[in-house]
């Protein structure tokens, strides 16, 4: 089940981020990167593979956790060359996709590290050259 309005919103965020990244002012470019990283994270989360509606947290304590998602067959042996589930027809999962969430969680933290680093870089550039204009910087560097 897709969500057309969410897709539209993500697309608009992408557009705004792109516009900002193309600016001459370094600080504006960093703000643009921030907008872009939000857009990317949302994009990944919204394209999860399942149409379930529950948060990916197993609530029952029962045995092997197979009550919510059953009947996959795993042939995870390298010698057979298969490392993926094989599903019966009509297999349904109640959860939303946990994998994309795990990926995005990593991405959020890394984008924080990146933002911090380039902000300090911008600050040092300003200190050394007295400007945040890319064009002027190129001229100063010769």
């Amino acid at each position: 089940m897709n969500n057309t309005l969410l897709s539209l919103t993500i697309a608009i965020l992408f557009g705004i981020g792109t516009f900002l990244v193309l600016r001459r002012d370094i600080v504006r470019m960093i703000i643009g990167l921030g907008v872009l990283s939000h857009a990317v994270n949302l994009l990944i989360v919204s394209t999860g593979a399942f149409s379930g509606t529950k948060a990916p947290i197993i609530t029952d304590n029962g045995g092997h956790g197979l009550s919510e998602a059953s009947s996959s067959v795993f042939a995870d042996s390298l010698s057979d060359g298969i490392f993926a589930p094989v599903l019966e027809a009509g297999h349904q999962v109640d959860f939303v996709d946990p994998l994309v969430q795990a990926l995005v969680l990593t991405a959020i933290v890394i984008s924080l590290a990146m933002t911090a680093f380039i902000l300090i870089l911008a600050y040092r550039i300003y200190e050394e050259y007295g400007t945040t204009d890319i064009k002027e910087l190129r001229r100063l560097r010769g």
């Binding site: 089940m1 697309a11 994270n41």
Partner: protein, 789 residues
């Protein structure tokens, strides 16, 4: 300790002890060279431990599994050939590293120098004991790399850099040809193990009859020839003389350049006995022997003469290993092996003398020298014995192996019959004549004649024993091997030759054989050699004139042209690809993304806008979308930094809120925390950056940027609404695995958490590494402030 363990330690000890060398240097200071020689001595003793078994004719091979699925094992093969090379490498290593204590100034970067020498020695030992081709290749290229570092030891001399680059380009590229040859050989024989191919008659027959036989041989031979400076590849060796002289003595005369010869000897049992082997190996050998011997005449640098003489002497070895017929696969093997050992002694000795002379006179130009025999009597005697051995004067060891060379040449000519029975011995004598002439030139030019009135320091004297003793030891070996040849022959040559010919070998080498054809050839060599020496200056002049007139008849000319051209093309290419302004790159990237998305979408999707759009969305979510767009627009249009940053962080919190509706509680939590931190960092940073610059966007730029943004936006939108439409049939999601195995395998209920810390724990480790690296980066950036104020 068994031999395999001893050899393994001998190979890896130099690497390990070189690794801790900088720490040892803190204690020993400028005595660090003695530490390095002690390491070499340890390797030598370890190899000596394996020697007795080999001298008794045994061979030892042992493997440790490495990549068994690819047939690549870590495997050492200990036979006569490898032990002899092991002795040469570690023995000359001890001599060179001791000598360096006197040669290298205390002001030099000694740890780097000795570290690289030890790395080289370890690589070279690893190479000669390798039984597996891939392992051999790795050590082979390691020797090329360490050689590159050592030639370029004086980093800010342009000629050092030129020489180092040249040697790396030629030898490392040659190594790649060799690797290709090994792969073809593996495809034919099904194994990477050299002894297996060597000892198996049926595999060798299969190989000899195979249609890829010739191409395999050519590929491997290119590797050997480039390493040993044969044929057109000789050009790197003269430029390698920019290295410190002990390095030239060690790498570029006694050991590394012999790696190619070693390879030829190693594969001799596999490929010899064929016409191709004789034509290629001996053909290139004879050609190089004559060319390099001849070209030595116009050299005025002592090390230049020695470099050309090394090329020519290596060509002798190639020629001899190449002598083969169908019935007699190894006519020159014994002679070549003996000459190989002898060359290591006399050439290393001559290089040490060159180092001494350059050290004392501060020049290497032979035209500025002369008459130094009175001031440097000991050096004079050492140099004379070394040079006379190279010239082939009895009773020195060079005489013996040259006699054997002539003998093998006569036999080869005889077996071929026809004009060859004269031609091959004649060419061999011609090579000997050149050798004789430049050997005499070394003695005469430096030590005899009159001392030039100017250009030399006033007081020249013999150096300290630190530099003399290693050379004296080599002179001792030269005389010993000449007078009592049974010592080297019994201990080194016979085991080696048996290993190559795969049969028991018994040699009888004596100083006096009676008047035989080789003896007559030696007499002819001396006579013509003396005659040639009287014309030495005229020949050199003619060569210079020829070179000035036809500069394009030279391999160097083409090498330089190619390298210059390559530099030109690559700099043009990179200037075009990297014009500078960051905007160009971003635009190019975005355009590429747009193309990559649109082309398949247009080609594959039936319609770009699918029919089942879903607008059935709760109102509260729609309100969040609206606010998000407003916040993003705010970040874009607000002109001051502070409001724009606040708008951005507002967007971040809205995203956090949205994550809750998207059933992602962990993400919401993280997003809120991170956004708070990011906002604080942002505010701290912009508080220090006054907003002096205001961009006035010209309407043309504005229109273009909006166009790009809208294009990106549309592409993303179309991609997203099509993402669930199954343009490409989806594979089953790997998420099924995580959902089902989360509880039984990891015991966690929160699947996202389990994925992060269990199933994909390495991702999280990487993430932590990124955070800490960014932290270090920030710290250093802040600390780098104000250094020039």
């Amino acid at each position: 300790m068994d031999s395999f363990t001893a050899i393994t330690i001998a190979v890896f000890l130099p690497f390990v002890l070189a690794g801790i060398l900088p720490a040892v240097e803190k204690v020993l200071k400028d005595k660090i060279g003695w530490y390095a020689s002690a390491v070499a001595l340890l390797s030598l003793l370890l190899i000596a431990q394996a020697a007795p078994e080999v001298i008794h004719g045994e061979t030892i091979q042992k493997s440790i599994q490495w990549l068994p699925s690819l047939g690549i094992n870590f495997s050492f093969y200990i036979d006569g050939l490898s032990v002899m090379f092991g002795f040469i490498v570690s023995g000359i290593g001890v001599i060179i590293m001791s000598y360096s204590n006197g040669y290298m100034s205390k002001k030099e970067d000694l740890p780097r120098y000795y570290q690289q020498l030890l790395f080289f020695m370890g690589s070279m030992l690893g190479m000669v004991f390798s039984a597996n081709m891939i392992q051999l290749f790795i050590f082979w290229e390691l020797t090329s790399i360490t050689s590159f570092m050592l030639i370029g030891y004086w980093r800010n001399r342009p000629m050092s850099v030129y020489g180092a680059t040249k040697s790396l380009l030629i030898t490392a590229a040659g190594g790649l040809f060799m690797l290709a040859g090994f792969l073809v050989l593996n495809a034919i024989t099904g194994t990477f193990d050299i002894p297996t191919i060597m000892n198996n008659e049926s595999i060798r027959e299969l190989l000899h009859g195979h249609e890829l036989f010739l191409i395999t041989l050519i590929l491997i031979f290119i590797g050997a020839a480039s390493k040993s400076a044969q044929g057109p590849f000789y050009i790197w060796l003269p430029n390698a003389m920019e290295a410190p002289t002990p390095v030239s003595a060690f790498l570029h005369s006694a050991t590394m350049v012999k790696a190619g010869i070693y390879l030829i000897a190693r594969i001799h049992p596999i490929f010899s006995g064929t016409d191709a082997w004789f034509i290629m190996v001996s053909g290139v050998g004879i050609f190089t022997m004559l060319l390099a011997g001849f070209l030595a005449f116009r050299q005025t640098d002592i090390k230049g003469i020695l470099a050309y003489s090394t090329i020519s002497q290596l060509a002798y070895l190639m020629t001899m290993y190449g002598y083969t017929t169908h019935h007699e696969p190894g006519i020159g093997v014994a002679a070549a092996t003996f000459h190989l050992l002898n060359h290591a002694t006399f050439k290393a000795c001559l290089f040490l003398v060159a180092g001494i002379v350059a050290h004392e006179t501060a020049t290497r130009d032979i035209t500025k020298m002369g008459g130094l025999r009175k001031e440097m009597p000991i050096t004079f005697i050492i140099a004379s014995i070394g040079a006379l051995s190279m010239a082939g004067i009895p009773p020195l060891n060079g005489f013996l192996s040259k006699e054997m060379f002539y003998e093998a040449s006569v036999e080869m000519g005889h077996l071929l019959g026809g004009p060859y029975s004269i031609l091959i011995p004649a060419l061999a004598v011609l090579g000997g004549v050149f050798t004789f002439a430049y050997s005499i030139k070394l003695i005469d030019g430096i030590f005899l004649g009159k001392r030039p009135s100017k250009g030399l320091p006033d007081h020249i004297h013999d150096p300290s024993m630190v530099m003399l003793a290693p050379a004296i030891f080599l002179v001792f070996l030269i005389i010993l091997f000449g007078v009592v040849p049974s010592i080297p022959v019994h201990n080194f040559i016979e085991p080696t030759v048996s290993g190559i010919l795969l049969e028991e070998a018994h040699l009888h080498v004596k100083l006096w054989h009676g008047i035989t054809p080789p003896f007559i050839m030696t007499i002819v060599t001396f006579a013509v050699g003396i005659l040639t020496y009287t014309k030495y200056g005229k020949i050199a002049e003619w060569q210079n004139r020829f070179n000035a007139r036809f500069p394009w008849i030279s391999v160097n000319y083409y090498y330089d042209a190619t390298v210059e051209n390559a530099k030109d093309v690559t700099s043009k290419f990179s200037n075009r690809m990297q014009p500078g302004p960051i905007k160009t790159y971003i635009t190019a990237l975005l355009l590429l993304v747009i193309i990559l998305f649109t082309v398949p979408a247009v080609l594959l999707a039936p319609t770009l806008i699918p029919s089942d759009l879903n607008f059935d969305i709760p109102a509260y979510e729609v309100i969040i979308y609206l606010f998000m767009i407003i916040a993003a627009l705010g970040a874009a249009v607000l002109r001051k930094y502070l409001p724009a940053v606040i708008a951005l962080s507002g967007l971040g919190y809205l995203v956090g809120l949205l994550f809750i509706y998207l059933q992602a509680p962990d993400l919401a939590l993280t997003q809120v925390l991170v956004e708070t931190l990011a906002t604080i960092i942002f505010l701290l940073a912009i508080a220090r950056i006054p907003q002096k610059f205001r961009e006035h966007i010209p309407s043309k730029t504005l229109a273009r940027d909006i166009l790009i943004s809208v294009a990106v936006s549309s592409v993303i939108f179309i991609m997203l609404i099509n993402a669930t439409q199954g343009i490409i049939p989806p594979f089953e999601s790997v998420s099924h695995y995580f959902i089902e195995k989360s509880l039984p395998l990891a015991g966690g209920h929160n699947i996202v958490n389990v994925i992060l810390v269990d199933f994909r724990g390495y991702d999280t480790l990487g993430e932590i590494a990124v955070i800490s690296l960014a932290g270090f980066g920030v710290y250093n950036l802040v600390n780098s402030r104000g250094e020039d104020e």
